[in-house]
């Protein structure tokens, strides 16, 4: 190794062991604004039986890479260069017919969203069988094999379910079906494009476990496309990190996690809140946003956001250089041997305040019927209580975190607080006054105390109105005179980190993070004392997530706000919350001090949730996990007694003697460790702490 000429990787190593060898892949999209180089010179390899992860943020080109391998790029995209060698054969050179024969039989694919990846009008059995029939399978045999596959991917009662339609399956079960389809012709390579992103934590754990098991049983190689470092750490043997359409770093997973050679990889890992982080600290966020693939910066794509950027980073594109066994990275700075110092946490703008004062929000025994007001001219719909008997309180300066899987009622709860969904039972007190039936969304009493930050910042901004108009609307309602609004808008936008020059843009011209800043600015414009944040960061890339979390905690401390912070990501909730409530099927199963709940969960559901969350730490991949079986029951028809009993690992499902769980609903009671839990047998199932 010489210092002056960094050795690039040898270009076509003749490794006969390779299952897949992608070399210099280039995929372009020809749009009216010019050519978008979505995949730009990407090379990597997959060996038989290996799990390779491609990790990157939105727009990094990881999905396009996956599709390019199977030649499934939608118009106007086109693979314009490189080679995709599958067992030595260049897939880009074979005929359409040959490619068709290879798809499914040799290389199969699993898609991100199981809701839409299955044909809604074909039975599950037919869809699996079709994968065999098109490759020459006989009808009857294919059906028998379909049944076998369904059983193999762990679908209970498979013979009956074979003739059911996708909509009769839950999300997790559908993803199992998609995997069964992929496995139908025993392919050698499985490309999994974000296979668990659309799933809840407990279901994600089930699917990841299934994939690992299949790999073990069938020896199939997996190319895992994901944005989640946790999933990478749990599943992969080797990792390819993509950014701006290029491979920026690749290597064995241990090396990447322990000694990343790329500032981006290192900072990304640092920006993730982690479950085992102790005392609250600031997250070291990466500034800016992932680049728009149609407008990549010159030089290293990461240079505008890089702590170490130098002039040459802006001028020339770094090439991949070898950094260790099988480990290479593309960075001018570290290529020269400069060490990667840990990212400094962002500075706080205000000191943490004492929590105290009268509660801003007090909820007692709240019930919300989401079917209220439905029904036709004649008759009403049956009530469905998405929130069923919930009590909580939030004080100024305090953050109450609320976690639960999708469908548990956490968003309904938030909407009921805002007056969007009518309350059907119990009481909601805001700023010490109980809400009456006349206090609907936006009434003076509510809006002056509480404001809402939405999950999807794009959906919550009117696409037709500029950001300035959206913020101004809030000021107008608050009664700010027209003359003073301009200054106020500037102040707000600066406060949330928006470029004031961009105020006249429409929302679609912003990145996700910026839009969420707009959403926050708009909420702040009403000068609330409490913010209800409904999954404010779950739609954002990891590097942006940290920025928004930091912004929110700054605001809380600066303005002495109370937060009701809703999220499904346990680590995010832990990071920001003082207290945590865990919700399951409309009720709280556990509530208490965040530290306490996380270090010593008392409810089996809390423990399972924590165990299920993938951790971005290779050392933890062999930890003992509790993987919950089954799915969340429907709130239309909740189970009797303890609502969790149908999935509880210590419940009647596993222990016949625990009839009490069926007969009697547990109430929230203080436990030995201080928090409250609604379980007949609290603390029995403890999360394995790191």
């Amino acid at each position: 190794m010489t210092i002056t000429t960094p050795s690039t990787e040898p270009a076509g190593s003749l490794d006969t062991d390779l299952l897949l060898d992608v070399r210099g892949l280039q995929t372009h999209f020809e749009t009216q604004f010019g050519i978008v180089r979505a995949v730009n010179d990407v090379s990597f390899t997959v060996r038989p039986g290996e799990v390779v992860g491609i990790v990157g943020e939105s727009g990094s080109g990881k999905s396009v890479t996956a599709r390019s391998i199977l030649r499934m790029i939608h118009k106007p995209g086109r693979v314009v260069g490189g080679e995709v060698l599958y067992r030595g054969q260049d897939l880009l050179g074979v005929s359409d017919k040959e490619m068709q024969a290879l798809r499914g039989s040799e290389i199969a694919m699993v898609f991100q969203d199981p809701q839409s990846a299955l044909n809604p009008v074909m039975t599950v059995g037919d869809q699996i069988a079709e994968a065999l029939i098109v490759h020459g399978g006989e009808k009857k045999a294919s059906r028998a094999r379909a049944l076998e596959l369904l059983e193999q991917v762990g679908i209970p009662d498979a013979p009956r379910r074979l003739d059911e339609y996708p909509h009769q399956f839950s999300g997790g079960m559908r993803q199992r079906v998609v995997i069964a389809i992929a496995l139908a012709s025993s392919p050698k390579l499985l490309i999994a494009d974000e296979p668990t992103t659309a799933l809840d934590v407990t279901i994600q754990a089930q699917i990841l476990r299934l994939l690992a098991q299949l790999r073990e049983d069938l020896g199939v190689a997996v190319l895992m496309i994901t944005h989640d470092m946790g999933v990478v750490a749990e599943m992969c043997d080797r990792v390819v990190v993509m950014y701006g359409g290029r491979v920026m770093e690749r290597g064995p997973v241990e090396a990447i996690f322990s000694a990343p050679q790329l500032p981006y990889t290192a900072d990304l890992l640092a920006a993730m809140p982690k479950l085992e982080d102790g005392e609250e600290h600031r997250l070291p966020a990466i500034p800016g946003a992932p680049p728009d693939p149609s407008r990549l910066p010159t030089g290293c794509s990461f240079n505008p956001r890089c702590r170490f950027a130098e002039d040459r980073c802006r001028e020339s594109v770094p090439v991949l250089t070898i950094r260790g066994p099988e480990h290479s990275a593309a960075c001018h700075v570290t290529g020269d041997g400069a060490p990667l110092t840990p990212a400094p946490p962002a500075e706080a703008t205000a000191a943490r305040r004492e929590i105290g004062g009268e509660p801003l929000l007090e909820i007692t025994d709240l019930r919300v019927d989401v079917n209220c007001g439905r029904g036709g001219l004649l008759g009403k719909a049956d009530p469905v209580y998405a929130v069923d008997g919930v009590s909580l309180e939030v004080r100024p300066g305090e953050t109450l975190g609320l976690v639960g899987e999708s469908g548990c009622g956490k968003s309904t709860l938030a909407r009921a607080i805002m007056g969007i969904n009518p309350v059907s039972g119990g009481s909601v007190c805001i700023g010490g006054q109980e809400l009456g039936p006349k206090d609907r969304a936006g009434s003076k009493r509510i809006r002056e105390t509480v404001q809402y930050v939405f999950q999807d910042p794009f959906a919550s901004l009117n696409p037709r109105r500029t950001v300035r108009q959206s913020i101004e609307e809030a000021l107008e309602v608050r009664g700010v005179p027209a003359k003073e609004r301009e200054a106020e808008i500037l102040r707000l936008s600066e406060r949330v980190g928006l470029n004031p020059l961009h105020l006249d843009r429409l929302p679609h011209a912003f990145s996700g993070g910026q839009r969420q800043r707009v959403g926050i600015a708009r909420a702040l414009a009403a000068e609330p004392r409490l913010l209800v944040c409904d999954e404010p960061v779950s739609a954002l890339d990891v590097s942006i997530q940290a920025q928004i979390i930091n912004l929110l905690s700054d605001l809380r401390d600066e303005l002495d706000l109370g937060f009701l912070f809703i999220a499904h990501d346990l680590s995010v909730v832990k990071h920001i919350s003082d207290r945590v409530a865990v919700m399951y099927l409309g009720t709280f199963v556990e509530i208490g001090d965040a530290e306490q709940v996380y270090s010593d969960p008392q409810h089996p559901y809390t423990a399972s949730l924590m165990a299920s969350s993938p951790k971005p730490d290779v050392a933890q991949r062999d930890r003992e996990r509790i993987v919950l079986t089954g799915d969340l029951p429907s709130p239309k028809n909740p189970p009797t007694g303890c609502r969790f009993r149908t999935r509880c690992p210590i419940g009647p499902l596993f222990r016949d003697d625990r009839q009490v769980c069926i007969e009697q609903a547990p109430t929230l009671t203080p436990t030995a460790t201080g928090q409250m839990a609604a379980c007949h047998f609290p603390g029995e199932l403890a999360a394995p702490t790191a």
Partner: protein
Amino acid sequence: MIRYLVRKLPSVVLVLLVTSVIAFSLPRLVPGDPAALLAGPDASPQTIAAIRAELGLDQPYVTQYLHWMQGLFTGDLGTSLQYRRPVSELIGDRIGSTLELAVLAGLLLVVAGIGLGVAAGSSNRRWSRFLTEGTNTTMLAMPPFLAGLLLILVFGVALPVLPISGEVSVLSDPVIGIQYLILPAIALALPMAAGIARLVQTQMRSVQQEDFVDLATAKGVPSGRIYRRHVLRNSLGPAVVAIGIRFGDLLAGAVVIEAIFARNGIGQLAVTSAQASDYAVIQVVIVGTVFVAVMAQLLTEITLAALDPRIRLA
């Protein structure tokens, strides 16, 4: 499914009841007196008044309405003021003609609409897309009667292979009957088929973007099979809804088509009755067509359910 239909029943009944009130009052809002028409152009006011009394038109409206409703529930649709014949008979004489036309036109509508839509939705070549879309747009802009006139010109004058006037019941003579039906059915169906085709085409284009189509591709399914088994069935929903709504238009369009092709159908009956203020007939025709529309809508829902298990099994 049956439970679903039973659940729909009260609202269907309500719709029909309201319709009956509209159907009863609308023709009576039309100025003029059916008795005057019966009495003839030279009649004196005394004659007209006498005929009015004989027809029962001098009764209060409420009495007339209740009388009509009472009749409806006992299966008596009333008696035409103009022809003094039971309305059921007048309609019965024509329903066959209209049904034949509507069924064939409906069939054409479905076949041509979906066929053209599929052709346009699956064609990727520039010229074939241009051709199908051009045909489609022109057909959309072509009113049925103009299409009818054109057909009469072509087949009546230039190329006399199909009859352009009159009708023969398909039931009594299928071979000849079909020949009489072809041109009016085409004139009636084609312009509407263009609308259906457009829906199918748009829907197919959007379904092609769906993940499950990608999954099928990834399974190694050939593109022909993808269109047949994955894209097509998922693309028909809006077209089915539109056909359901358009079924009423088929009946309405039949008015003009029946006129220029000399067919004696319900459309003709409706027009002449409306112009002759034959309340007894129009009110039944209106209630009947709304009933048919409601039924068509139900049928649409049933078809949708058959096409889409999500609806069927919900």
